[in-house]
Symmetry: C2
Subunit: 341 residues, 2 copies
Amino acid sequence: MTRRVALLAHEGFPDRAKTAVGVLRYADDEPVAVVDREIAEADPDARTTDYLDGVPDAPVVGRVADCPDFDALIIGVAPIGGGFNESWRPDVRAALEAGADVVAGLHYFLNDDEEFAALAAEHGGELWDVRKPPDDLGVAEGVARDLDTEVVLTVGTDCSTGKMTTTRELYEAAVDRGVDAAFVPTGQTGIVIEDWGIPVDRVVSDFAAGAVERMVRERADHDYLFVEGQGSIVHPAYSAVTTAILHGAMPDALVLCHEAGREAIHGYESFEIPNPGYVGGLYESLAEPVAPTEVVAGALNTKHLSDGDATDALDRYRSQVGAPVADPVRDGPGALLEAIL
Amino acid sequence: MTRRVALLAHEGFPDRAKTAVGVLRYADDEPVAVVDREIAEADPDARTTDYLDGVPDAPVVGRVADCPDFDALIIGVAPIGGGFNESWRPDVRAALEAGADVVAGLHYFLNDDEEFAALAAEHGGELWDVRKPPDDLGVAEGVARDLDTEVVLTVGTDCSTGKMTTTRELYEAAVDRGVDAAFVPTGQTGIVIEDWGIPVDRVVSDFAAGAVERMVRERADHDYLFVEGQGSIVHPAYSAVTTAILHGAMPDALVLCHEAGREAIHGYESFEIPNPGYVGGLYESLAEPVAPTEVVAGALNTKHLSDGDATDALDRYRSQVGAPVADPVRDGPGALLEAIL
């Protein structure tokens, strides 16, 4: 049965509510409402479709108590620092009192909150802290390359270049074509969408590749796995997570994700992003001694460009990457999928 | 005042007691005894110097209760899995009842043991779980390359190639020459020796580079920092830790560590170790976009070879690495230090 979800996104929908938007766009769940008091106050008749194209239509309400019946409340907005905003407490309380589950990807764990834990126990709901990795992880065994499945990994020139979106679009397009495929999430939005997965950035570094390997093994009965990458190997802070995924998943093919026009690492502006073709080659070189692979396609995020500029940017990107390229949102993932299958 | 330490190493001294041997060889502490009941039973007059060259002379006794006065008991042996061996409980109890501190690098945290926590509180000793990272770590800011200190990092073709030993030998030789230098440990043995540091392999992968950056910043008032590397970028399980250290420390120079004759990743025998020169180049390529560096010297572990074979192996290694090489244990670290200073 399809899970009915309410999406908490106070003061954040849609631009600062990445998880809520990801669930609307990609999850199998049925959204009963988005909860954003700022929007609901300004427009009591607001709908999701007023803000986003191609998502299920649902009302935007001011509080959880005003939502139609639902099975789970998903915290769909991530404040800087990942804390719990105390102004959300009445909403979470209302969800738990209605017997619903609550799903959150915060650094603050709902399970450690005495009131929420007690309410969940009393009303039979579950608290799922997506960012808490399992306790029983271990080091990678180095076996992913021996699995009988084609592993496709998205890698990037930086964070926030569209890896999650590209992975998900490729996966959905593959399934639409009748390919036996699975999606392997590695970050909180993907995990909430898939209702399964391990947040690799929260795993101790010794076990990070092992966590990825475990997910790949669990889904290895599919013909194709689309693994969501994280960060970048040229990122001064997050490259360890990226390396863990590259060596843990041992992909057969890479899709290189880049944002058109971005020249420096976001938030680390003194670090230039090298030519994307060079970055792609570096991924291949780093993979080579462990499990050889190659960049078979490039995904370019052109959302800030006009159609004409996007075409120019794609031409340039194609020559840099030396493989088929597309913007999977603007153009659809078809051309990229062709390069993979 | 020099700290007096007892070194617990039941059934492990010296070959399976890496931390005990590291402390004997490199720490400023005064060892009062090694505790190994197997050795003490076989030879009640056993001494450390019966087993190791160039370490302080101290008795090997059967239990902590038989040790001369000491300030701290160091768990110097790491069982597979990193658990606490219950047969050690009377020894830890005796140390705490004598008012001493207890230092351990186990996965099992002494601070979580009710009896030990109560005894430490009662008698004024401290429990230090070396493997527990600080709670206040964050992401790297990407600033290590701007510090006014020369950062030298050991990197390897595999785990257990001599990175800790090489780093420590270089650091001590530099200090002996009057260089203002500091040692930056990243693993438990180095941390116990230095009585300071963060176990990078136990830090969540998002913060691993940040942990290294923090240590480097704390020691940046020295002219040279010798940073202990971990794992290898060609290791299928531990490459994330390696990458975090490379990008977090942003070294000015690399020393490539390899064990003569080792052709496959230890414990992952289906993974060949590439030509060490290729691995060195891969470290340089991965560092380049974040903070350029180069392999300035190579350390070769030749402990399993005869003198003649070691000379041959060093010649071969020199041509592979394209830089001065030496076995810092057999030959001393002088030639390597020359290449660095």
